[in-house]
């Protein structure tokens, strides 16, 4: 056990306290703010940032090339017009969903264990949406005309095609980005004020002071803050379901076999939360290790998240099963062929990989010793991330490459620029994550203080 505190004999992981015993207001504040306010930069952090930043530069290079040469630098062509760009878009936007679920739904359901992971999960959402949003724009061919997607009075006297799910997508994703940003920022305000008050040098005081928007910790502030948080949580709650539903409409409204199914919305939402929790674990496990936050992100957190992953993974498995069943039950020859093609076609390897990553391997999470083994959990979270990426690859590419007409069949091979864009956005994501971890409190300080009060059972001295 490396949970940072000893487990009582015979006590189940699920019954452990959600914060290690012995913490007070002061220790919580000190421990979390020390990461931000500590002097100098750790070599490990600098190294990680440098690697991430170099991939971000690769993204810049790719985008520059894309703007000058066009989308031809990617491997897309008829019949596969939606290649990596859409695969990555859906993958990134799905990852964001765990953050919203944790911050909104679990807040409304009073799940206290969310407290120590919600801040970086929300940051993850925000950065994932930033990566996701880039892909459809770059895929448009003329990204500088992206504003044509929005309804505004224009010289063409045209509105966007409101009956197209691609337009709904614009609204869904932009709403999602806005609400996520607001939610995250509002949550940060009291902590920014704490940092302002604890900062040693003038520059930090001023920067955190400006960002804290004049927070003075007064009762009025707290009252308004609680109202705003609840309102935003209420706004964000439907987004957990709606955003990926709309993304799934991009496919299911089309008539391509493999896309045109009614299971898509729930199955996409479950997949999104599945991949999101996998990403929370992928990020949370190293953060907790390198910054010694085992007291706050305890074994119980990891265990609970593993269970959420297991549950959503089973829903995803059910989705796959229904696709098989519908191919048989509908009698539609194209659907039947799709299933055959997935299992035996030219991309069959990736389908079997997908089944292994998303369905077979995560079944290990039924075993408690797997759920409480940090290293194994980390590997499984990476596998699920990969599996969910493969799922989108299977949906996008494998459905398109065998169309209704055999004469229009084709293959899709990603080019080096496809990979550069993809790894580039991972670079962007990790760069933002590294900066976030260093310059903002990675765990909500004030919420942890509330938690200390709630779990210790006695009033703390202020």
């Amino acid at each position: 056990m490396d949970s940072g505190f000893t487990q009582k004999p015979g006590q189940a992981v699920a019954d452990q306290p959600i914060i290690a015993p012995g913490h007070s207001f002061k220790t919580v504040t000190e421990k979390i703010s020390a990461i931000v306010l500590g002097k100098g930069y750790r070599p490990g952090w600098l190294f990680g940032l440098a690697i991430s930043f170099s991939f971000l530069m690769l993204l810049n290079l790719t985008i520059g090339l894309l703007l000058t040469k066009g989308v031809g630098i990617w491997g897309i062509n008829i019949p596969i017009g939606w290649g990596f760009a859409i695969v990555n878009f859906v993958w990134w936007i799905g990852i964001g969903h765990a953050g919203t679920l944790i911050s909104a739904i679990l807040l409304l359901l009073h799940q206290q264990w969310r407290t120590s992971i919600n801040r970086f999960a929300e940051a993850m959402t925000l950065f994932a949406v930033a990566c996701a949003g880039m892909f459809p724009l770059l895929h448009m061919g003329r990204p500088w005309l992206f504003f044509w997607l929005t309804p505004y009075p224009n010289a063409m006297w045209l509105w966007p095609q409101f009956r197209s799910p691609l337009v709904w997508d614009v609204f869904a994703v932009s709403t999602y980005a806005t609400v996520s940003l607001l939610f995250w920022y509002v949550g940060l305000v009291p902590d920014l004020a704490t940092l302002r008050d604890k900062a040693a040098n003038k520059a930090s005081k001023v920067i955190y002071g400006v960002l804290a928007l004049g927070w003075r910790n007064s009762a009025v502030h707290w009252s308004r803050y609680e109202t705003a948080s609840l309102l935003l949580a209420g706004l964000a709650t439907p987004l957990v379901v709606s955003v990926h539903t709309v993304v799934s409409f991009d496919f299911s409204v089309g008539q391509v076999a493999g896309w045109h199914t009614t299971i898509f919305p729930p199955y996409f939402v479950a997949g999104a939360i599945y991949s999101g929790f996998a990403m929370v674990l992928t990020l949370g496990i190293p953060i907790r290790k390198f910054y010694h936050l085992e007291d706050f992100i305890t074994m119980r957190h990891l265990n609970t998240m593993a269970k959420v992953m297991l549950a959503t993974g089973l829903i995803v498995a059910y989705g796959y099963l229904v696709e098989f069943f519908m191919a048989f039950y509908s009698g539609n020859p194209y659907d039947k062929f799709l299933v055959f093609n997935r299992l035996h076609g030219p991309y069959a390897f990736f389908y079997w990989m997908l089944l292994s990553c998303n369905i077979f391997i995560p079944q290990l999470l039924w075993i408690r010793s797997v759920r409480t083994n940090v290293a194994v959990l980390f590997v499984i979270s990476l596998i699920v991330n990969m599996g969910m990426w493969l799922e989108r690859f299977v949906i996008v590419v494998m459905s398109l490459h065998r169309d209704f007409l055999p004469s229009s069949w084709g293959m899709y091979y990603p080019t080096r620029w496809d990979w550069a864009t993809y790894t580039g956005t991972i670079g962007l994501f990790l760069t933002l994550m590294f900066l976030f971890v260093r310059f903002l409190p990675v765990i909500s300080i004030y919420e942890m203080r509330q938690l200390v009060e709630a779990t210790s059972g006695k009033k703390q001295k202020h």
């Binding site: 010289a155 008050d197 004049g214």
Partner: protein, 219 residues
């Protein structure tokens, strides 16, 4: 604990809340004005031409018919820019020594076309056909403006899609009798809408839904 900010900064904080809205509004306004400005649309902007040809003189004062020079306007998508020979039908007899017309005579002697600077143009992805418009009662001046009063030719309309759609959505607002199509001084009658509806029916102008489909103009 000492104050980090002077109390006056509160005002700045409050202003910035609305500042964002104001900046966004201003940017939108600037973008709109720029798109509608002659700088961008070329409306009312004259360009240097090899010969300062005046439609005002030829079509207005002398009363030449449009089709005397733009011969293919009734039969072709392109109205036609006249060859130098057309100019020389008159200018071999009058103004033969004018220095202003030397480029025309040079062109005639050397058989090299005069390189006019194009004034009215739609983008390449627009399929535009002059003949159908002329034959359905769309007058020259509807798009080209008061051409008979232009000493130097300039663009009279933006030729934006909104301009095209204005008529494609309500052709009765602009259609005139076929006999008036080439009249540069035509003034729409007071009962334009009534007359227009009648003409739309008479000329069998297609349903506005058809006129607005993408492939009508983007083929």
């Amino acid at each position: 604990m000492s104050q980090i900010f002077h109390p006056a900064t509160n005002i700045i904080a409050k202003v910035t809340i609305f500042g964002a809205l104001i900046v966004a509004g201003l940017l939108g306004g600037v973008a709109y004005e720029l798109e509608m400005s002659p700088y961008y649309t070329n409306v009312n902007v004259t360009h240097e031409q090899p010969v300062p040809f005046s439609h005002k003189h030829h079509a207005g004062e002398l009363g030449l018919d449009c089709r005397y020079c733009h011969t293919t306007v009734e039969k072709s998508s392109f109205a036609g820019v006249p060859p130098t020979q057309t100019c020389m039908t008159c200018h071999s007899q009058i103004w033969t020594n004018s220095s202003m017309l030397e480029p025309v005579r040079f062109s005639y002697r050397t058989d090299k076309s005069i390189a006019w600077t194009r004034v009215n143009a739609v983008p390449q992805f627009v399929y535009f056909d002059h003949s159908i418009h002329i034959n359905k009662g769309v007058g020259c001046t509807t798009c080209h403006g008061q051409i008979a009063q232009m000493p130097l030719t300039y663009r009279a309309q933006t030729l934006y899609m909104s301009f095209c759609l204005d008529c494609h959505r309500q052709p009765e607002k602009y259609v005139r009798p076929r006999s008036e199509v080439f009249n540069p001084n035509y003034v729409a009658p007071a009962n334009q809408l009534e007359l227009g509806k009648q003409l739309v029916a008479e000329y069998k102008i297609q349903d506005t839904r058809h006129l607005q489909t993408c492939s009508t103009c983007h083929r």
